[in-house]
């Protein structure tokens, strides 16, 4: 039994922790939140120099070839630090999509630059405030040209390439690699609940697009991609949730009311004990996902949905109760509690909301029981 990070992975995680403590304090997150910067370019350069962007990209494509379990360890620390950089978009989604479905030429062309952080990638699937429901996409592709609008696209205002989902004559969902610096694409920043992570509206007017994977397989590729990303995001969620819980515990020890620490009141203690349970269960489930990613196990879809549901709940609960424990201070812009609350809800929605993942989870168990 070896259900924990290895010593090497733990060392990597500790280094990441130290680096982010230094380079990504809440102050840095706030600079992006308050619109001073679209994202933290210095931090992005820093993590790229440390090789994190290339961690799970094979050496043949300019990566470090550390593997996905190592990437999970990094994700937990990035989540804990609320790192305001396009890491998830560029690495868990764009680079992984190319690894999953790209041709040799596509991989050689894009992955080395994504691995060094020189290029930023993202994914564009959503078309407004509506859950995906099997309804055909409005964005369409024909003869290598894309038309339609994607909203919201994480990091869309400054990414260099995007993986775009579009309908074609033959397929309800096909994937494309699109270079975003073309005159046929308009990009406009949009507001979201978490301004520490930039989002944009992308309008394609006959933009050049290159197919990624076969047209017919788009939905299947996207599902695999989201499953894998859900595990990495699951680690970000566990990281963020742990910090929010720590903040709440620290405050509960130090803040006095009625002549005693508020943390000596059971209404506060018991709530935080429940948050602790949620966070630890999410951590265990995330580990399962890490194992499945590392081993490319057949359990991956189930482990992904499990990690996703647990992680989304844990971070949300930890971040909202952190605000509650802080009282009025928790509700101020100046206090840091809201940074976690925003990020928690953002991460819980970015790959599809909890009800969708719960549905996937039960589907998967039914499928396994039928087999």
């Amino acid at each position: 039994m070896n259900f924990d990070f290895s010593d090497d992975e733990k060392r990597l995680k500790e280094e990441a922790h130290g680096f982010l403590n230094d380079r990504c304090p809440p102050k840095a997150v706030r600079r992006v939140l308050e619109g001073e910067l679209p994202f933290d370019r210095d931090l992005w350069r820093g993590v790229a120099e440390l090789g994190w962007t290339g961690a799970a990209i094979p050496e043949a494509y300019g990566g470090v070839g550390l593997g996905h379990v190592g990437l999970c360890a990094l994700a937990e620390e990035l989540g804990a630090a609320l790192a305001p950089i396009p890491f998830a978009s560029s690495i868990y989604l764009a680079a992984e999509a190319l690894l999953l479905a790209g041709t040799e030429a596509q991989k050689s062309r894009w992955l080395p630059k994504l691995a060094t952080g020189q290029l930023i990638g993202t994914i564009a699937v959503a078309e407004g405030a509506e859950a995906r429901s099997g309804k055909p996409l409005a964005t369409s592709a024909e003869g290598g040209r894309l038309s339609g609008t994607k909203l919201p696209v994480a990091d869309g205002a400054y990414a260099d390439i995007a993986i775009v989902a579009a309908r074609t004559a033959k397929s309800p969902l096909a994937l494309y690699v699109v270079e975003l610096n073309q005159p046929e694409i308009d990009r406009a920043p949009v507001k979201t609940i978490d301004p520490s992570r930039g989002h944009a509206r992308l309008t394609f007017r006959g933009a050049k697009a290159e197919p990624l994977g076969s047209e017919a397989d788009g939905e299947a590729i996207l599902k695999r991609l989201y499953d894998r990303a859900a595990i990495l995001v699951g680690f970000e969620q566990v990281g963020g949730a742990s910090v929010a819980l720590d903040m709440a515990c620290n405050y509960a020890r130090e803040r006095y009311a009625f002549g005693r620490p508020i943390g000596s009141q059971q209404a506060v203690k018991h709530k935080l004990a429940d948050v602790y349970c949620a966070v630890e269960l999410a951590r265990s489930n995330a580990y399962w996902g890490a194992w499945a990613l590392g081993a490319d196990a057949p359990e991956l879809p189930l482990a992904a949905a499990t990690a996703r549901v647990a992680g989304s709940r844990a971070f949300y609960v930890a971040s909202k109760e952190n605000i509650q424990v802080h009282g009025g201070m928790g509700f101020t812009w100046e206090g840091d509690c809201h940074l976690y609350y925003r990020r928690a809800k953002h991460l819980a929605l970015m790959l599809g909301a909890a009800p969708e993942w719960k549905e996937k989870l039960v589907n998967e168990i039914e499928r396994r029981n039928a087999a």
């Binding site: 259900f3 379990v69 005693r260 059971q266 203690k269 935080l272 004990a273 265990s284 580990y287 549905e359």
Partner: protein, 410 residues
């Protein structure tokens, strides 16, 4: 990350599995048989027989030192044994308290002669032990107990009452905490002993539980004489000694019994609600997903504990969440399972109800799991204080001599 056994672990697992294949039947279908915990004479005889075979095969004291008749193996091996056991129908509920809590306390605080006399028969299942801690005045506030022991020559004389004592009606020995000095602060006036349950002056009365069975008892003590040689730890150190027992309790009390996720999942596929399988309902599916996530989370948390054990580290605080999370989950699964059966959901006739009325029975036994071995509230306090480092509750009894502490009417 992997789930693989080391070569020694794999060998031990194979040995354990072979033992169960030979001495027990594999579980099949619903976990119906697992719940028959009625302690009638037949069940007791079967349990004693199974325990003896376990002892003969070297599985009854896997982690205990060889000097005490154990195998001296690391704790991970016990976990592996339990994992294998989970696939078989085995008698449960008779030896957990004695071997999980009482005997470890005796081994730690008793003399070598005690160990020599009492450990082997307990391991073989010839003698069963119970835990005489809770009293009518309190279980959570264990240190508030009032049963008195007064020194008389080489003996102590005990008067008072214990309650909720599981198995007292068939047990041979018990460990007991009593008050030996009411004039000092409450944690300082306690002392631990062990005693023969057939001592003159002990009366055991069975208590019927919500579930209809009678596994626990009231135990009355009238001038019961216990020799000072049966004292465990120093006079006034009873609280510290009892902490050994309670620490072992947390390891001994494992996951909740069935029904678990698999049972409610299969039920939801079998039964029909408004003309459709219950599992087709969106709200039901969301609940199933939530229970799966919790069930899996608990199982995987145990793997984290195993990893710590196999690296010879002490398990982290994650071990403390199991009972808290699983007892409530059990109660919710039981209640929701019954909801799927409409008006007839309250039927307890095993032949009329899916899963042989497992869900109905669980509705009635699940409340006990939220109380026994530390209530939900006490467990939350433990997590908050010991794991999260939050301050202790404010207490009205602090620094008062025990006999000046306010008491309620119940």
């Amino acid at each position: 990350m992997d789930f693989n056994d080391s070569p020694e672990e794999a060998a031990f697992r194979a040995e354990a599995r072979a033992f169960f294949e030979k001495n027990a039947t594999r579980k099949s279908g619903h976990a119906a048989a697992q719940r028959s915990r009625a302690d009638d004479a037949a069940n007791l005889a079967a349990a004693k027989d199974f325990q003896r075979r376990k002892a003969e095969a070297g599985f009854a004291a896997i982690t205990w030192p060889k000097a005490f008749g154990g195998r001296g193996l690391p704790p991970i091996m016990q976990v592996i044994f339990n994992q294998e056991q989970a696939s078989f129908e085995v008698p449960r509920g008779f030896f957990e308290i004695g071997l999980g809590m009482c005997i470890p306390t005796l081994m730690k605080h008793g003399t070598p002669e005690h160990a020599k006399r009492y450990v082997p028969p307990a391991v073989r299942g010839d003698e069963i032990w119970c835990q005489l801690f809770s009293e009518p005045v309190g279980g959570s506030d264990l240190a508030g107990l009032i049963t008195r022991a007064v020194r008389d020559g080489d003996d102590w004389v005990i008067n008072g009452q214990k309650i909720w004592t599981s198995g007292a009606h068939y047990c041979d020995f018990g460990i007991i905490v009593v008050r030996t000095d009411p004039n000092v602060a409450k944690h300082e006036g306690l002392t631990m002993f062990f005693l023969d349950m057939k001592s003159p002056g002990i009366e055991v009365r069975r208590i019927k539980q919500v579930s209809g069975t009678s596994n626990f008892n009231e135990v009355f003590f009238t001038d019961v004489r216990v020799p000072d040689s049966q004292r465990l730890g120093a006079v006034g150190e009873g609280w510290k000694v009892s902490l050994t027992t309670l620490m072992n309790e947390r390891l001994a009390v494992g996951e909740a019994p069935a029904p678990d996720f698999d049972d409610i999942f299969h039920l939801a596929r079998e039964v029909t609600v408004e003309g459709k399988p219950a599992i087709a309902d969106r709200a039901m599916r969301e609940k199933l997903a939530d229970w799966y996530v919790e069930t899996q989370g608990l199982k995987l948390t145990k793997f984290r504990t195993m990893t710590a054990l196999s690296r010879s580290q002490t398990p982290g605080p994650e071990a403390s969440i199991t009972k808290l999370v699983s007892a409530t989950k059990l109660q919710e699964i039981a209640s929701t399972g019954m909801d799927l059966l409409g008006e007839g959901g309250s039927l307890m006739e095993e032949s009329e109800v899916p899963a042989a009325a497992l869900f109905q029975q669980a509705l009635l036994y699940s409340p006990g799991l939220r109380i026994a071995g530390g209530t939900d509230e006490i467990l939350r306090n433990i997590i908050a204080e010991r794991v999260l480092g939050l301050p202790a509750d404010m207490r009205a009894d602090k620094e008062l001599p025990f006999n000046k502490i306010p008491r309620g009417k119940r």
